[in-house]
Subunit: 321 residues, 2 copies
């Protein structure tokens, strides 16, 4: 481990590095209350979330020896899938430590991408310990989901694309936030943009950490949430510092607002958003992100949702506009 | 009316003309049985279908006088919405003749785009007569949904984008087909590509017309179908001739195959496809389009589906992969 911090230059270099390996996801127009906003549809990324970006950047920077010994990651799903796809493409063996209650849609896709899965119990076991043990046993490299310079810089490639697609820096950008890898990377890529991180109710540790100026853990017991991708209990100094430096602030949305946003995305954007991927859109629709204008971007960060859960959420909200 | 036919040059010119007004929809990778295919996600077009392309091209070519007198279109929904959005953007009054059983999602969006709607009964009234009467009364221009050179050439802009995004002409392209405007336009844009038009079971008049070498109507009574966007009973010589010249052939898919494709699109592509928009994907998944390879493109042409119907289809297919 070095003391290196993620930087804007690092993000630029990562964006060039990963470009041949990731989808340049579209920036789609959304006419909303008389204003044309923009949606970065990162749910259309390969593997269904932005996570391929950071994983690809991290793995491309591994030497030949490290590649041969393989990689280990712990993740509820999207990071697992990103690492699995990147690893398969580069011919690197991958083992994923995944909670036994991870959505089947993510587990199945990770297996289909050729990775090995080691399950654990979210309530009683430590994924960090299991991951560290596996890494030690095999000499494999642990690929963290957000607390890593190369991963953060890789996620920032989404921000580089947004700037290029919009032809300028957005005035404001709303982004789903778990550990903060995506939002920190984007904040570095777009230093003149007002960043608003969005979290599920009761899981707004980034919002509270930004206010406090230091990592503040989630208040226990944290309420249940459908946002399996955003259940991070403590952010990293790496992500927090990048977001603080950009003047970011955080807001939270309710489960009901998230479900409504998923239905809105299907109906008005023809996009499948998973709960955690829809929180920034939910903040927009619920008016929780303050003023928005022509130059606002909303990130939908993922679209891996259990099909039955998704169908039921859409059915519940079918009458709403 | 002139005897002008749609041409490859006309498609090129249309593609340049409409580019500032339409979304360059993404060409997304799809790994399918060990092969990387490509999906043209035209459901992400503004208004939720490719129809904005042809409507925009047609309306941009109207003179000042004609623009002032307005436009009339008849459509079950997607063409209506395309015309309504294009008209609003260009400041042209639009009236849409729409069947009373059109999906509410399409009707509401058309109204939201600022068009007037005149309803009719699909079983007992002729939309052509109503449209012609309205056009005569107001001196408005009738904008046909597919039997029109400018409309066909405008739809072909999707094919121009596909060639540019893929960096070459596809070997094979599967495309949903109603009246044939989109498929004919793409065939003109990509003359070296094998075009396969896909229709719902019992509505395969393009397939049979291509075999017969002349327009052959749908066999009555045509079975019920969820593909409200593809219920065309007779293709146009304009679309048929362009497709015949390219050596296109047609296949059909069942309602069950279409629903399975909609569920597949949500799960594996994170795209909302309407029934008519999913038929080409259905043909791929059901193995009805013959050999496919690295250089195959599947078009998803629209994503405007009734939210409750959509939820129920996804629920039914939630267990399937």
């Amino acid at each position: 481990m070095s003391d290196r911090k993620p930087t804007a230059n690092g993000v630029s270099a990562a964006a060039e590095r990963v470009a041949p390996h990731v989808t340049r996801t579209p920036l789609l127009p959304l006419d909303w209350r008389g204003v044309r906003l923009w949606v970065k549809a990162e749910c259309l990324q390969q593997g269904g979330s932005f996570k391929l970006r950071g994983a690809t950047n991290r793995l491309l920077l591994l030497g030949e020896d490290a590649r041969r010994r393989g990689v280990v990651a712990f993740s509820s799903g999207n990071h697992a899938l990103g690492v699995a796809i990147a690893a398969r493409r580069l011919g690197i063996p991958a083992t994923i430590v995944m909670p036994s209650d991870a959505p089947a849609v993510k587990r199945d896709a990770t297996l289909a991408a050729g990775a090995a899965i080691v399950g654990y119990d979210r309530a009683t076991e430590s994924r960090e310990e299991i991951g560290a043990r596996l890494a030690a046993e095999k000499g494999a490299t642990l690929v963290p989901s957000f607390d890593d310079v190369d991963v953060i810089e890789g996620q920032g490639s989404a921000g580089v694309e947004i700037g290029a697609q919009l032809g300028r820096a957005p005035d404001k950008l709303l982004v789903p936030c778990g550990g903060g890898g995506l939002s920190a990377g984007i904040a570095l890529a777009l230093p003149d943009t007002e960043i608003v991180t969005v979290e599920p109710e009761g899981w707004d540790d980034m919002a509270r950490s930004l206010e406090a100026g230091r990592p503040v853990p989630v208040r226990e017991p944290a309420p249940p949430t459908r946002c399996d991708a955003l259940q991070t209990k403590l952010v990293s100094p790496l992500t927090l510092d990048a977001l603080r430096a950009s003047g970011a602030r955080g807001v939270w949305v309710s489960e009901q607002e998230i479900e409504a946003a998923m239905a809105f995305a299907a109906r008005h954007l023809r996009l499948v958003a998973e709960p955690g991927g829809a929180v920034a859109l939910a903040a927009l629709l619920a008016g929780k992100a303050g003023d928005v204008g022509e130059n606002t971007v909303v990130v939908i960060s993922g679209g891996n949702v259990d099909p039955l859960l998704y169908a039921r959420i859409l059915e519940t909200h079918a009458a709403a506009r």
